[in-house]
């Protein structure tokens, strides 16, 4: 009786274990357990448009690996100057918690007297989530990339400046990074500084990168994480590549004619085997002949 009790308890434990899942204890999402991360960044792109991007993610206070992106939250982007507030546009967060909006190149920003532009990203909140907002202050940097070739010498020139209200080019201080585009990532080829009134940084391009099959290379100039300008990119494509010669390997096995070795090996194999069949046949014939002779002999006797 006692052993039966132990047996049934053991079976019951196994059954309960099998039908129980950790997720049964999972609770409904409670925002108070999470720290909301509302991060706003911007980058000026090569076509002079500006990318505004908000990342909205909830991170568990106790387990930093437990992150939950906020889905479908409408983020509005404003250009603010003093009391004036212009709505640039809005975007909803994706399943990764990212809301993106691209400001057209010809958009007229409201800028302060010192040239700083204020862009603010706002989320109005919901029943569960509270209101969020973050502002960015930056100057609209003009970045230019010029590629020239004079008597076989290839020069790459980067120009960085800001425009004042009169449209005049004002020098800035910034680190410039030059890259050559690749299939997957960009490769840095040079970095330089524009400072002390200089608008440009120039260097000679002497590498022999292959580029695309047509010999095209895309060069990039960037300003990265600058305190005043943020991220700015510009690019140009030019036929400066020295493509590697493409050697098309013909597939021997599926070519129209099979390789000679295949004919030789298979012929030897097949001929060898069938020759043995014939040899066996001849031997059987001899056996039969001898048998006939023996039969005739015994008949004669």
């Amino acid at each position: 009786m006692k052993s039966n009790n132990i047996k049934y308890t053991f079976i019951a434990t196994i059954v309960i274990t099998l039908f129980t899942s950790i997720t049964m204890l999972a609770q409904k999402f409670d925002a108070s357990n999470y720290n909301m991360m509302f991060n706003f960044k911007t980058a000026k792109q090569h076509d002079n448009t500006r990318l505004l991007e908000v990342s909205y993610i909830a991170r568990n206070n106790e387990d930093s690996k437990d992150e939950m992106p906020v889905l479908d939250a409408e983020v509005k982007f404003y250009n603010i100057l003093n009391e004036k507030e212009i709505l640039i546009g809005s975007a909803k967060t994706t399943k990764d918690g990212i809301a993106k909006f691209i400001v057209p190149a010809d958009f007229s920003y409201l800028a302060a007297a010192d040239g700083f532009i204020n862009i603010t990203a706002k989320y109005v909140g919901s029943d569960v989530l509270s209101e969020e907002s973050e502002e960015l202050l930056f100057k609209d940097l003009q970045l230019q990339l010029e590629l020239t070739e004079v008597e076989g010498v290839r020069m790459i020139k980067g120009k960085a400046f800001v425009l004042n209200n009169a449209g005049e080019e004002l020098p800035v201080e910034a680190d410039l990074y030059f890259y050559a585009g690749g299939m997957l990532t960009k490769m840095k080829i040079e970095d330089g500084i524009v400072e002390e009134g200089a608008l440009e940084y120039e260097f000679e391009y002497s590498s022999n990168l292959p580029g695309t099959v047509d010999g095209n290379i895309t060069f990039y100039i960037t300003v990265e994480d600058h305190d005043e300008f943020g991220n700015v990119t510009q690019k140009q494509t030019i036929n400066w590549g020295t493509p590697n010669p493409q050697i098309a390997e013909s597939n021997k096995l599926w070519s129209e004619v099979a390789p000679i070795w295949m004919y030789v090996v298979l012929t030897i194999l097949i001929v060898g085997v069938w020759a043995n069949f014939i040899y066996t046949g001849i031997n059987l014939f001899i056996i039969r002949k001898e048998g006939k002779l023996l039969e005739e002999k015994s008949k004669r006797r």
């Binding site: 599926w254 298979l266 194999l269 097949i270 066996t280 031997n283 002949k289 001898e290």
Partner: protein, 448 residues
């Protein structure tokens, strides 16, 4: 020992197998004929309506026909391999099981290729394979290899039959069989009188042929494996497929031999000839093959899993979801259970060894199914807006009917041959008994 008298006695002993047909035999043969006829009906349905009547579609172009083809052909090659080894090393066990192995070899090689023909959508264009062969294609190699192997196996089987035909011819007066059967014995015996010269000649060509069938089995089975492994399909593109197929073939071959031995022993009451020792030796060989087969299976799937290639991962997902139980049976139950049964001495009894063989056979067939179908259901290129029946394969009754007909055909031919020639080689028994005592003692020592 008077050889003539001994031969006479053996013919008398085995004559019940050849004479008349019992009611059970008639029912058995009748049932097999019905199944074969049903298969023929299904074949004509497929011939007139096309592959629409089967479960094969654009995506899964191979189904259980190719599984049966691999299964039977692998049975044949392993049979040829085992038979060649038995003959070449003059193993005494060949007296009892040699003929069974040879018959399995030839019959499965006759039945197997029929299934590959059933995979062809346009059978009316079959002759194109011979008119416009591509020597670069493994399929062409396979046709050449199978045809050559079939000739070799039939020839080999015939060579081993000749001395028995001669015994039956010389003692036909003792047999109550139709005249045409006696005439056939005379014709097929080829005037063999067991003279020194005839015996030497026959032994020589049988010996050469036994080596050849071993080599041919390895070559032909490797080529069959290459049909799969030379493609880039996930699950097939594997460098170990050829040796894996050979090991799997030997595993299933030994298993089928054990099952056949069990059935023949019971049906013909041949306990004196097919003894427990044959089962134990067969079981130990099967145990070694099971260990090797398990190792190869593990290596193959482990490499697929570890590489984390998208195609392979998709295939493993399919295997562990849609085919979960089939996968568990084929690759765990079908390997581990025979190993457990055969490993422990106390389980090495005729019934248990046969049970292990049955489990192994079912497992191997499922393994073949898992090699063919899930791969075709997991293509490289994602398919959109396609009907589920184009992606997933389920065999129809037409395919099952033809598969059953193949098995029934195999059993029917085996039964008919067993009614024509004794299932135990009489000439081998005579040869063994007339061997010098020293040799016999040596053989006894080995077998014990």
């Amino acid at each position: 020992m008077n050889i003539k008298e001994r031969k006479k006695a053996l013919v008398k002993e085995f004559s019940p197998m050849l004479e008349g047909t019992s009611l059970i035999s008639k029912i058995w043969i009748g049932s097999l004929v019905v199944i074969v006829l049903l298969g023929i009906y299904a074949f004509f349905l497929q011939l007139f309506n096309g592959h629409e009547v089967t479960g094969m579609r654009d995506n899964v172009v191979w189904g259980i026909f190719i599984v049966n083809f691999i299964f039977f052909v692998c049975l044949s090659y392993s049979g040829a391999f085992i038979s060649g080894i038995l003959h070449f090393f003059k193993t005494p066990w060949k007296n009892a099981i040699g003929r069974i192995v040879e018959m399995i070899t030839v019959l499965s090689l006759i039945i197997g290729p029929i299934f590959i023909l059933l995979c062809i959508g346009r059978l009316d264009r079959l002759h194109y394979l011979f008119m416009y062969p591509r020597i670069q294609s493994p399929i062409t190699w396979d046709i050449i290899a199978i045809m050559t192997d079939l000739v070799a196996c039939i020839l080999y089987l015939y060579l081993t039959f000749i001395p028995d035909f001669a015994i039956l011819r010389d003692n036909s007066n003792e047999l109550k069989v139709p005249t045409w059967q006696k005439k056939m014995y005379k014709f097929l015996a080829l005037g063999y009188q067991d003279t020194k010269e005839q015996s030497r000649r026959l032994h020589k060509i049988t010996q050469i042929m036994s080596v050849m069938v071993i080599v041919l089995a390895i070559v032909a089975y490797s080529v069959l494996a290459w049909i799969f492994s030379l493609t880039l399909q996930p699950g097939w593109n594997s460098t170990i497929f050829a040796p894996y197929f050979i090991i799997a073939g030997l595993f299933s071959g030994v298993a089928v031999i054990i099952i056949t031995m069990y059935l023949v022993r019971r049906f013909f009451k041949l306990e004196n000839y097919i003894r427990r020792m044959h089962f134990v030796v067969g079981g130990i060989i099967m145990l070694v093959m099971a260990l090797l087969y398990g190792y190869f299976t593990f290596s193959d799937y482990f490499a697929k899993w570890f590489s984390h290639k998208i195609g392979d991962m998709n295939l493993l997902d399919t295997l562990f979801s849609r085919y979960f139980w089939l996968f568990i049976f084929a690759n765990y139950f079908g390997i581990l259970v025979p190993i457990v049964i055969l490993y422990f001495k106390r389980f090495r009894k005729v019934r248990y060894i046969t049970l292990a063989a049955v489990i192994a056979i079912v497992g191997i067939w499922f393994n073949r199914y898992l090699i063919v179908v899930p791969t075709l259901e997991t293509p490289f290129i994602p398919i959109q807006d396609t009907r589920p029946e184009f992606i997933h394969y389920t065999a129809t009754w037409v395919e099952w009917a033809m598969s059953a007909a193949g098995v029934a055909g195999f059993l029917l031919l085996f039964t008919l041959i067993a009614k024509f020639v004794p299932i135990i080689s009489m000439s081998s028994i005579v040869e063994y008994e007339s061997a010098p005592k020293k040799v016999k003692r040596h053989i006894k020592k080995i077998t014990e």
